[in-house]
Symmetry: D2
Subunit: 133 residues, 4 copies
């Protein structure tokens, strides 16, 4: 299996990702892109995407970016800043690994929202992924 097939297999084995409908758009060593069509069930009380949906997508993208380097990997922690309310058709999370050690890698993730063919940054995340060696 190539890396995209492995990534898709893992994503498909996550019931929560199937529930939400997450799609793996890209996976390379040190980079992952996850996408999610925004459904009305994903919103909060003001009609924007719930922060929890965005943080889920960031968490998962960080794990895939780190996992692309380590094989089986574990997100130890992450931090997310919500920058703009997300409203539109699609969430796009692009995560990349920064300088990597043998056991630990810091990954950053930008989460964009696609609204009427315009993409804008809605959140930024940074986290720590640990290789399960």
């Amino acid at each position: 299996m190539d890396i995209m097939q492995i990534g898709n297999k893992i994503l498909n084995e996550q019931p929560f990702s199937r529930l939400l409908g997450t799609r793996l758009a890209a996976l390379q060593p040190g980079f992952a892109q996850l996408e999610l069509e925004i459904k009305s069930e994903f919103l909060q009380q003001h009609g924007y995407v719930h922060g929890g949906v965005i943080s889920y997508l960031a968490d998962n993208a960080l794990t895939f970016a780190g996992g692309s380097l380590f094989g089986d990997a574990l997100t130890v922690e992450f931090k997310i800043n919500y920058q703009r309310p997300a409203q539109g058709q699609r969430l796009i999370a692009k995560a990349k690994a920064e300088a990597s050690g043998k056991k630990v890698v810091c990954c950053t993730c930008e989460i964009y929202c696609l609204n009427d063919e315009k993409e804008f940054l809605c959140a930024s995340a940074q986290g720590t992924v640990l290789g399960k060696v």
Copy 2:
């Protein structure tokens, strides 16, 4: 309406919280407790609760704890450490406001997992809530 009624009204207006089934167990000035029954759709590929479910619950509990002080409030950012894999019947997030300024409050949240009548800490979060004044 008392504070619990207001909190329940807001939670009920969040389609994503309805999708997952979140329950408001307590809300007082500076404190919020949210609970979520663990369903098989919430898991990841190893059979544990997906980190994104835990981060969603932490995010929401932080917002309710901060919002209990400010009225309408916005979680600007948060950080979460996953401490132990979550497996069991229920997630319980207890968030409290630390020293509060006029516009900004730092809130912390501990997320417990109830498994066969034992509660254990599965994650710790800390975030910043901004009053919408």
Copy 3:
């Protein structure tokens, strides 16, 4: 050597901690307390203690709390919220280890400021310490 002697030895081998004058007030498995007398050189442009002094003390206290469990340890990352401006005689950082794994522990730290015999919370931190196994 007992744990306090080991801790004092390490602290004394840190030139930066000697420059600032940090003191180890307590060290037990899973807990560390560091203290620092506030000097005029530690301030920022408004007369409060510079955030960088507070973040240094938090970083060091987190490392000592985690190191008390693992022996040689490394702080991978941390997050700090500044809650109130620090002004007074002394900074007191109390760090404790939360649920610990074999290789990784999440530690939290509260930083207090002593001003005219009153202690108040000025910052809260949370970080990840990795055992150097």
Copy 4:
């Protein structure tokens, strides 16, 4: 005064930055670069730059990047990942503002270490700056 003069004035009014010897290398709306020559007093017990020095520089660079947009500004919180041990001649912190709201901006900062004419990434930070309006 132009923006560099204002920045230098503020930096020069910070006793802690004078103690360490921080230099403002660049300041533009949404971007700040701070630099610090590494002295032997800045090290920890293994001969690397103390994390507290790096976190101080990140904190200050984040504040300058955010302050360049808001005028008087306050760093509410930040998170830092240490990526590689810092050893060499100089620390260079480059901070930029991400998508900015009216009152709050998320800033990110990369901290490089210059060692024998080579620059390498030693830490990444992300924080929240609040305009003092």
